[in-house]
């Protein structure tokens, strides 16, 4: 069985070089931190991203992957992604990322697979890049944030992107960037501890209530961080559908969509994954590591061992079979 980590991050050197060359002309502030790592700051964005060596150097990343007992890592571009940039540069950044992914796939003979970054700030450019990048070797998922400049994912301009994903059979992996409610979460790392999972709840609601999942029934979507707040508030969502005029258009309860999503294991509490298995089914859960952030799992496979009451069949599903199905490997 192939053990597949569906939530791991990478900053390719060519992508960093492009930022260093043209980032400032496009609104970013580039710098270096005390460790000598390149940093990027963006206006209005709380998180300053640093491109640490262990998230750039593929040889380091391969060594880590072997030590983590993972066979395949799907590499994704996390904060700051590319939507902040003017459309042409957003496209250039996306292309640089996607091309680097294809190269990594080839160089490491399939141990790394790429996910497709798209300039969603310009959906027409995004659709074209999706077409192009989907043909590159090793690409296994589109990768998106949970809002585009404050617009939720069901916003009509994005529908051609969803349509193209469904047409190509391309699964979509989501990741929080720039969470909502930031003014109340500036202390105690709550931007991450609360804000990130809060984003998943809004993203799921948007795709369900905004009609995306109904319009594109073959679309498969991965929610990180064990689905964030989404599974646990499903009762509220159902109650809303049952009682509110704003949701009178819904033909099914919200809970009917629980199994339209995949969820990774990053809950940091095994009991939560046990509850998740009960709620959504063991066949919808994939492992993640959040490589290599401090809020991740250095040993994502070992975490699965801690989940109470898993059968051997469920273990295999979670460690690799579900991800193989989701990513069409």
């Amino acid at each position: 069985m192939t053990i597949i980590d569906a939530h791991a991050h990478w900053f390719p050197q060519p992508w960093i070089d492009l930022l260093l060359k043209e980032g400032e002309a496009n609104g970013a502030t580039m710098g270096k931190n005390e460790k000598g790592h390149v940093t990027i700051s963006l206006k209005g964005v709380a998180l300053k991203s640093a491109f640490q060596t262990d998230m750039v150097d593929l040889a380091v990343m391969k060594k880590n992957m072997d030590g983590a007992k993972v066979d395949v890592r799907a590499l994704s571009l996390t904060n700051p992604m590319v939507y902040w940039a003017p459309p042409a540069f957003g496209l250039k950044l996306s292309q640089a990322y996607n091309d680097a992914c294809a190269a990594a796939y080839k160089e490491y003979k399939g141990r790394f697979r790429g996910t497709i970054m798209l300039p969603l700030q310009a959906p027409d450019l995004a659709v074209k890049e999706l077409e192009r990048a989907s043909k590159l070797p090793g690409m296994c998922s589109a990768y998106m944030a949970m809002h585009v400049d404050g617009k939720n994912l069901h916003d009509k301009p994005l529908w051609p992107v969803w349509e193209k994903c469904e047409e190509l059979g391309m699964p979509v992996s989501l990741h929080p960037v720039n969470p909502l409610g930031i003014d109340r979460m500036r202390e105690f790392h709550m931007r991450n501890l609360c804000g990130n999972p809060y984003e998943a709840g809004v993203a799921a609601a948007s795709l369900i209530f905004g009609g995306v999942l109904d319009a594109f029934p073959k679309l498969e979507v991965l929610l990180p961080h064990a689905g964030g707040t989404f599974p646990w508030l499903i009762g509220r969502y159902d109650n809303g559908v049952a009682t509110r005029k704003e949701l009178a258009h819904m033909k099914q309860p919200a809970s009917a969509y629980l199994r339209r999503f995949y969820y990774d294991t990053i809950s940091h509490e095994p009991k939560i994954i046990r509850y998740l298995v009960d709620l959504v089914g063991a066949d919808r859960i994939v492992i993640g590591s959040d490589y290599n952030f401090d809020a991740g799992y250095p040993q994502p496979v070992d975490f699965v061992e801690k989940i109470p009451g898993l059968t051997e069949k469920e273990r295999k599903l979670i460690l690799g079979e579900n991800a193989a199905r989701f990513l069409k490997l």
Binding site: G150, D183, E187, N192, L193, P231, I234, D294
Partner: protein, 329 residues
């Protein structure tokens, strides 16, 4: 058994009358909707507060309680509460609520329990009103929103109020108010479906990480809506405490704080309530209904009885025992 509903809303007629007279001079507006129901609003603030007869007239409230098989309501003031007003008017509103609450408790012995509303926008006035209202018959708890005009609950200026409440043996009951999230939660009723539980999570995080729970070990705090997002993200909170410098001050594991709070039953999902009971303990969960709001349980006791594997002991604790202990009845 004295079945106690710890989450029920009421608007005293005197409170409505006071708003009718003086809201306009304080930045608020009172109108009547098409059914003649008083509605309070402020420009640019959602939601509006409708105050229908079922939430005002004691006879009608008692009738509903009898229909639902509830002996006692803990009466809570929901939006707009009082922090929006200028300090002197905020105090007047709080006093009007507190006096009316005590009166209704005395008029209907055993049927109502009062919670103290305080003008937290002016902590010195709040402290003053706490002293006065704590002496009024029937007042058993202090009621706080999850933020005070955008300030999280751990702000140092609120600490004297918490200290005094703990000293008086009064638990703190929280309630979301004007949730953060802006335009992202404007549609699909997300302000309520997501915004409210998100607020509870931020409030719990603030009280926990901000040191309030440790500074006042005798302060009991109740989180509504099943604790919102808080129980489900406890793993993330612990991970944050393990790895972040902004959380290295925390003296105890996250799990400890799960049992520093109390939770109501408003999860809208029987299995999720079961998970909650397993996570926090049956002795920390209390019946709630959210009478008479959009997301209320019309049959809160019957809902509890759908929880898988509910034992008679758990049932008694949740319907009566825990509330009696918390409210020192």
């Amino acid at each position: 058994m004295q079945i106690i509903d710890t989450h029920a809303h009421w608007y005293p007629q005197e409170f409505i009358d006071l708003l009718d007279r003086e809201a306009a001079g304080n930045g608020g507006k009172m109108t009547r909707n098409e059914k003649g129901v008083p509605v309070f609003s402020m420009p640019g603030v959602m939601p509006h507060s409708a105050m229908p007869p079922l939430m005002v007239q004691p006879g009608l409230v008692l009738g509903e309680m009898d229909k639902r098989g509830i002996e006692t309501y803990v009466l809570c003031l929901t939006n707009p509460m009082v922090y929006w007003a200028k300090p002197a008017f905020g105090l007047k509103l709080a006093q009007t609520w507190n006096d009316a609450s005590s009166a209704i408790c005395q008029k209907h012995p055993g049927r109502f329990i009062g919670t103290i509303q305080l003008p937290m926008q002016a902590p010195e006035l709040a402290a003053q009103e706490l002293e006065r209202a704590a002496k009024l018959p029937g007042m058993r708890a202090v009621y706080f929103a999850t933020h005070v005009n955008g300030k999280n609950l751990d702000a140092k200026e609120f600490w004297p109020v918490y200290e005094r409440a703990a000293g008086l043996g009064l638990p703190a009951l929280l309630h979301p108010l004007y949730p953060c999230g802006g335009e992202r939660i404007d549609k699909h009723f997300l302000r309520n479906l997501c915004g409210n539980p998100y607020e509870n999570g931020i409030a719990a995080g603030s009280l926990m990480f901000g040191g309030v729970m440790d500074a006042f070990p005798n302060l009991e705090v109740m989180l509504p809506q099943g604790g919102g997002t808080f129980p489900w993200l406890i793993g993330r909170f612990q991970k944050g405490m393990n790895v972040r410098k902004e959380l290295k001050h925390m003296p105890r594991p996250a799990e400890h704080y799960l049992r520093r709070f109390h939770y109501d039953t408003i999860t809208h999902h029987p299995r999720i309530l079961r998970f909650l009971i397993e996570l926090v303990g049956a002795d920390r969960v209390m019946l709630g209904s959210d009478y008479n709001q959009d997301m209320q349980y019309e049959r809160p006791v019957e809902f509890l009885d759908t929880v898988p594997g509910l034992t008679p002991q758990e049932r008694q604790l949740i319907l009566e025992g825990n509330a009696k202990r918390l409210l020192r009845l």
